[in-house]
Amino acid sequence: SQDSKMASVVPLKEKKLLEVKLGELPSWILMRDFTPSGIAGAFQRGYYRYYNKYVNVKKGSIAGLSMVLAAYVFLNYCRSYKELKHERLRKYH
């Protein structure tokens, strides 16, 4: 009970996303750093999180690279969805 009392006084700004309660979510989003350097910092942190978890390990497997390529294919599919909509299975193209 002592621990939960201490945890509840952590300021909102420094909580990670998964620790934010649902009611506090809008104010948490508004408090994030949306300056260009803040956004660049977010991308950098995300990049290093992925890199150190999947690639920069002693016995990295093909999964580290494949996940990046799969995400690339998915993003390209989203980008060209508008033109691909017309190619759904139909009798005459």
Binding site: V55, L65, Y72, V73, N76, Y77, S80, H93
Partner: protein
């Protein structure tokens, strides 16, 4: 089918934002840098491959030509990774755009020629006339050699563009034909097999880079040394 055959070669824009910048920069994500002696598998593999290629390619020119090693190695990495990424479904390949290939070919070729002219003027000018031509033929031959010199960058760019574009188009066409023939059985197996072979051959898009950089290197070598 005719319209969407060429739709994959349009410059990708989204809400007016040039997505192509991101797509051109994407291969750099796949080549991490590290200053350690013993690296993870990805970096070790890439370093091994780079060493192999640079030893094979940079042993030919002399000292002055070897100063181009960094430029040529980054060139081969860029074109190789861009072409290979273009083989993934739905992706956009920047090297299918003639504008980009011309932008790569012309400065590099011009640099090689101008280096040759500055350092060995007599030898570079002598390239325009092969040895032992009969005297009446000389004017004609000088013109022909000049034309062949100036066509080099255009040939470099158009070769790369045409090869990659033709490969992509063929994959689209044959894939579409396979789908259409799904209802008719025996032909389907044959065509699917042809697609498989074609894709494998096309994966030697890496050989494309080899051709590109090698040709560039040969030209550079000739202009700097002989």
């Amino acid at each position: 089918m005719n319209e969407n055959l060429f739709a994959s070669f349009i410059t990708p824009m989204m809400f007016g934002l040039p997505l192509i910048t991101l797509i051109v920069l994407f291969p750099s994500l796949l080549f991490p840098t590290s200053s350690r002696l013993v690296n993870n598998r990805l970096i070790s593999l890439q370093q091994w491959m780079l060493q192999l290629v640079s030893k094979q390619m940079m042993s030919i020119p002399n000292t002055k030509g070897q100063t181009w090693a960094l430029m040529l190695m980054s060139l081969i990495l860029f074109i190789g990774s861009t072409n290979l990424l273009g083989l993934l479904p739905h992706s956009f390949t920047p090297t299918t755009q003639l504008s980009m290939n011309l932008g790569m070919a012309i400065p590099l070729w011009a640099g090689a020629v101008i280096t040759g002219f500055r350092n060995k003027t007599k030898a570079s000018l002598a390239h325009f006339l092969p040895q032992g031509t009969p005297t009446p033929l000389i004017p004609m031959l000088v013109i022909i050699e000049t034309i062949s010199l100036f066509i080099q960058p255009v040939a470099l760019a158009v070769r790369l563009t045409a090869n990659i574009t033709a490969g992509h188009l063929l994959i689209h066409l044959i894939g579409g034909a396979t789908l259409a023939l799904m209802s008719i059985n025996t032909t389907t197996a044959l065509i699917t097999f042809i697609i498989l072979i074609l894709l494998t051959v096309l994966e030697f898009a890496v050989a494309m880079i080899q051709a590109y950089v090698f040709t560039l290197l040969v030209s550079l070598y000739l202009h700097d040394n002989t």
